[in-house]
Symmetry: D4
Subunit: 227 residues, 8 copies
Amino acid sequence: MEKDQVRDVGYAKLDMTRCARTGCSETVYCPGKNREQLAGIMEAFREGNVPVLGTKCAPEQFDFLRERGLDISYDPVSRILTSGWGKVEKLAGLVAVCTGGTADIPVAEEACRTAEFFGCDVLRCFDVGVAGLHRLLGRIDEIRKADVIIAVAGMEGALGSVLSGLVSAPLIAVPTSVGYGAGFGGVAPLLAMLNSCAEGMSVVNIDNGFGAGVMACRILRLINRKK
Amino acid sequence: MEKDQVRDVGYAKLDMTRCARTGCSETVYCPGKNREQLAGIMEAFREGNVPVLGTKCAPEQFDFLRERGLDISYDPVSRILTSGWGKVEKLAGLVAVCTGGTADIPVAEEACRTAEFFGCDVLRCFDVGVAGLHRLLGRIDEIRKADVIIAVAGMEGALGSVLSGLVSAPLIAVPTSVGYGAGFGGVAPLLAMLNSCAEGMSVVNIDNGFGAGVMACRILRLINRKK
Amino acid sequence: MEKDQVRDVGYAKLDMTRCARTGCSETVYCPGKNREQLAGIMEAFREGNVPVLGTKCAPEQFDFLRERGLDISYDPVSRILTSGWGKVEKLAGLVAVCTGGTADIPVAEEACRTAEFFGCDVLRCFDVGVAGLHRLLGRIDEIRKADVIIAVAGMEGALGSVLSGLVSAPLIAVPTSVGYGAGFGGVAPLLAMLNSCAEGMSVVNIDNGFGAGVMACRILRLINRKK
Amino acid sequence: MEKDQVRDVGYAKLDMTRCARTGCSETVYCPGKNREQLAGIMEAFREGNVPVLGTKCAPEQFDFLRERGLDISYDPVSRILTSGWGKVEKLAGLVAVCTGGTADIPVAEEACRTAEFFGCDVLRCFDVGVAGLHRLLGRIDEIRKADVIIAVAGMEGALGSVLSGLVSAPLIAVPTSVGYGAGFGGVAPLLAMLNSCAEGMSVVNIDNGFGAGVMACRILRLINRKK
Amino acid sequence: MEKDQVRDVGYAKLDMTRCARTGCSETVYCPGKNREQLAGIMEAFREGNVPVLGTKCAPEQFDFLRERGLDISYDPVSRILTSGWGKVEKLAGLVAVCTGGTADIPVAEEACRTAEFFGCDVLRCFDVGVAGLHRLLGRIDEIRKADVIIAVAGMEGALGSVLSGLVSAPLIAVPTSVGYGAGFGGVAPLLAMLNSCAEGMSVVNIDNGFGAGVMACRILRLINRKK
Amino acid sequence: MEKDQVRDVGYAKLDMTRCARTGCSETVYCPGKNREQLAGIMEAFREGNVPVLGTKCAPEQFDFLRERGLDISYDPVSRILTSGWGKVEKLAGLVAVCTGGTADIPVAEEACRTAEFFGCDVLRCFDVGVAGLHRLLGRIDEIRKADVIIAVAGMEGALGSVLSGLVSAPLIAVPTSVGYGAGFGGVAPLLAMLNSCAEGMSVVNIDNGFGAGVMACRILRLINRKK
Amino acid sequence: MEKDQVRDVGYAKLDMTRCARTGCSETVYCPGKNREQLAGIMEAFREGNVPVLGTKCAPEQFDFLRERGLDISYDPVSRILTSGWGKVEKLAGLVAVCTGGTADIPVAEEACRTAEFFGCDVLRCFDVGVAGLHRLLGRIDEIRKADVIIAVAGMEGALGSVLSGLVSAPLIAVPTSVGYGAGFGGVAPLLAMLNSCAEGMSVVNIDNGFGAGVMACRILRLINRKK
Amino acid sequence: MEKDQVRDVGYAKLDMTRCARTGCSETVYCPGKNREQLAGIMEAFREGNVPVLGTKCAPEQFDFLRERGLDISYDPVSRILTSGWGKVEKLAGLVAVCTGGTADIPVAEEACRTAEFFGCDVLRCFDVGVAGLHRLLGRIDEIRKADVIIAVAGMEGALGSVLSGLVSAPLIAVPTSVGYGAGFGGVAPLLAMLNSCAEGMSVVNIDNGFGAGVMACRILRLINRKK
């Protein structure tokens, strides 16, 4: 392994060739980084013309980056930051992102925008939770057209199980921290999704729309590579 | 409160008039009682001609009671013990007991036999979990005829939420310890049921079919009283 | 299932016929929705003349809705939002709502106002916790007149068990997050209520007064239907 | 501190003067000790004529000690082992030991026999749990005569709170592992007892009847010393 | 039980004769009560000339009570509120209150001031944690003069175990939420105290200095009664 | 949805057309089913000529099925049961299954045999955990040829993170219950895998090799469909 | 043990000779101390010319100490406070401090500055987490020159395991609270580090860079003593 | 990295040069390996003349290895397996292993025998728990002579904190699963040790005497290297 794969800025070692290795260029987890560190990291990627995605970015962090003149976009709902530079190739195939409720949308948008940044087409299908099953059944034909499905749900997180039994595409379940009391910040849907009686589903961390988005891309890239 | 409401056998104080107070005669939780204690308790109730239900009774406990000549029945699936003496009045109305899977049947039978012991009619509807939704939808009209519904499920426990959105009867959810790993002995379905996005549902302890059965009886007795 | 049961506003799929299906019209869980989404949802229901209840609504959310000219009421104690439009039929029967302490009142009021919104009469009986048993025993005759009882308690949550042994009506227990330290935000009373040695009781999520209120309504509706 | 306070047998350092320091001679926690170790420990105490109490002793451990000719007694219910040698002074005052149910008796007997071994008089008052409150109220005058009260309960552990509000003596609560499901081996009553809304109560470990017995003795010794 | 033992102010049922029943007059847990409720409660007690103690009172709550002209005192460290009216009798005997560190002082002061309010003399012995054992051993003779000992400690909570092996008085252990990370808000010292290898110790809730203070009073009152 | 999709044997509702709907025919979770139930279920599938996979099957269950004359195979390491009847189509593509240690092999074999049953080719690469990184690096080129990777690991579960950063294929992580103490039966690797700093990975339940195998199949089927 | 080892300032007992006993002079845990207490403690140490380190100090606490004229320094990243007085001897040997990511730097700096304060030389090697293994492998020769290694990581905390298998020096792992969701404030990396399949590693509390720094010093002092 | 560092036996990849890399040759975690696998692994190491240590080995596993004619020893207390072949160099320096009680000895012996196998001298100092502090203080001078100290304790795990404040050597704390109830299988001492107010201590997994032994060796080897 060669040393020049890494750009060392002291507080960070930037992985300049991650895209070649894993298919997705490096992404930056923004919390816990001060604004100077974040700016330094973004500037180093810009220099290398490496496209970069930032997650869970606070509005203040974004404001500072803009003041520094960086060519970036920001979505306040998903708190996703995307660089204007670099180039990501488009992928054939479709990712469907469903949510149980309206309050799950920020996490779902994190998944959508991550998938879109890495070249996927996304179908949004929000607020189709199991309390009113006909809402889901009314959209099921549309969802079945997707190659990968992401199910985002808080509270009891039953959307994943119900969906997974109705489709044949691989399903990635994202528990959210939506809920209160014995939801324990997303533990209830996380456990539900891990213990699903329905098969063909795997799970990412609570509120980790980003992780689901990348997993979906890796799967889609498989189809693209094989073609 | 009068002292003769209680029959004191040393290791137990038997509540001889519970039925008058709460509508159901006393029931005996069998684990942790040695066989002599259990026999002493049953004999005291027989003497008072008080009908009695025993829960989670081990086969060995039942064998000893039979040897002592007590007129009791035992169901090895639900581990429910029922006295042949005393008289419980029949109740109008119907309780539907549904399960997510086959492995939930012992807990479901505990609910069924408890409800039946206290006078209810029971509709059994087993293995209608959400992984194959058409199994539940195929039975839904039948279930809707019930006055109270009990949903028994382990794993991710989604049955309660899905059912509750499809019916108007009060629904009692029973999480079971069916599952493994991050099911944590029933914690996963317990949390799912407590956090249901569907309303009109309340929950009892893990594997507590008995509790659900009594709750259903209390509700049915309400209809009977009002007639 | 027909598609026009659902009103799709993009971020939400409104269930316009839930009342016909489950007996209660749709309710809105306010946290996690931004104010535009909330307003959009309320306006859609108003258009359909569907009565609607909002739960755990922040004062700022309510203020925005009022500014939008929506005919709604708000109770700052329970954080319940109720629409002025639509029509809910009155139900015969009585729901008693008891609390262990004064600090449990916000959750209890959520139960009371939910039950009232859906047509129930409510008896409030607050601060009758078990540390001073005579407070509860002094009110017990009154409580026994109710058809359904809701017991709201934090700390050790013993109110449910004590009450359930004294009455024959079905009892719904609501643990609250009142307490500190090893109360773990309501886990202590939740576990106590789930493990009650008293029967005829079921439990809803921590601080879920709303859930208890709807469950009580479903039970009362049973009496009304049977008459 | 002098070295001859300790008798060193290699695998154990026996505290020969604990009684002078803390008021109770050393006690032996039997689990995890092999039978030779246990015998060696008992023989060393016998040599020093130090009275000794063993807790949670398995029948096989006791059998081996008897075969070694040690003058000891054993109670299979509480699994308490007591030496026939040495001398413990009698204490004035009374300890009441109450249980919620019959299944709590083994833990309660551990408390009773510990207190008796260290010189206390004990009033046993078993199976007075809160599901049938009149059982407790019927015995309350008797209980009030005690100087210290020990409340032993599993399931929801409400006995402590209810009792503590009815008496003025210090109350020691012992949660037991009686129960199942979300009882989590005694966690539910432990949390309930720690979060009691009733004051004047403190708590020991799950199933720790021994600890409650010693605490009661320390309190009673206070009265004796003061006389 | 007579109804006039209770003063009903709607949101609260005041227990006017608790002192006669349990030895300590009623105390008020301030969190979760709004200021009008708190004032109403205090005024009712003043009217009955019942001395009253408030715990965990916020400065804002106190300010409002003072504005209402109530004769009360407030200690900002312990957040204890005490009424100027009523009369509490003095008790013979001494309570020692020890802390592991300086950060445990607020909880320790809650214990001290509770005990003092109910008539006890208190010896304060702060910052004698086990990391520098000589600090504790240097004070041990003084501590041994106390009739009851309260050990207040956060972090690993070892103070209770070490102290309990050095004294013969009953020891009440109070875990505090001092610490971070895997201290889990006081869970670490709570578990340590419950699992102490030293006997003669019992435990109250995390940060519950008040509970320890009342327990100490109940014990001291025993000595006073017996004299 | 048609009713004849379901074969009702009372204790089970068999989903005869799951394969058409989700791509995999029904599988049977064996624990909690008694042997008659299990035999009844298998016989019903045989009648329909539906291929069937059983998971976590006890040797005794298998023996009974063989005695009933069912044409099935059993692997005692993975406890996987496979029917000899029916026909599953072969899939192009490769699944690599890696384990951290030797003790993870039973779970890994569950994944391997599930994937093979549903038509996949599998590369086994066992005992390449991160404590000796060169073991993994020595195999990495081989692993990179796979289309989907399954990483099975207990203890600290780091294999998933390390692998995911080295490959571009989608990775499914399976935590196992291998370990002891603070491994908490697989919780430690489960949390590690959910919190991976490496992207492109999703997780199934503890010891759920089956779930990973099905997920891998769904992904491979995608490639096959697209070709 | 002599009493003058302790300087008693009422709210604190200062351990003036800890350095002689344990090799490191006393350190002050700043949270939970009010500013007057903190100032009093620092002034007492200054008077004794005892060098002192403060941990997790809030900026406001530092400002107050400066206003009191104390000769102290403060690092806002690590929140470490160091006295200008007293003298700490220099130690031969090297401590390497590695982090998984940039967000772990504050905890790592706490370790670095603690080790430096007590005389160690420190090599900083930040952001070498396992998602891009070449970043770590590129620095491994440098790290291998250290006598003690500290691995600081949040999220899945795999850095410790991977590093420990590559070096022969003792390794101290510090889990951090960096992460979200099922990271549970550092529980995920804590469990991972405790369950490492790699040997030669031990663990300190979540975010406890200080503890790792002192442990490293104790080890280095060993080399210095032996020389 | 060269491939011949690894000996591949299919179910295991043996790390033949670990000793050169980390200072300790490979060790085998026995649970979860079947006896053929274990024998194959041991035989491969014997062939390479690599000394090998096995941990947590069941008696049945050992018996099988002996039958296969392997030259190994087994200690039934610690369940440690050691090869007769290969050569481990002797290390200067002393490791003291202390336990809180007699029941902690199996874990302590695992530490002792691991350290001895890798060349260390060990001082055993058992049953010096904090309930009788003079037992520890009576041995403290002896313990202070050690270069590394291992403190093994269950229940409340206070031994580590007390010891760490009395010595200057690095201290490794090992929580054990000794205890019951709220000890949660070693969680109580684990948390206590992680939250110690005493510094200079780090922690390994519950019951992980092996890990402490290896960590001690790594530290001692440092002294040996430096000489």
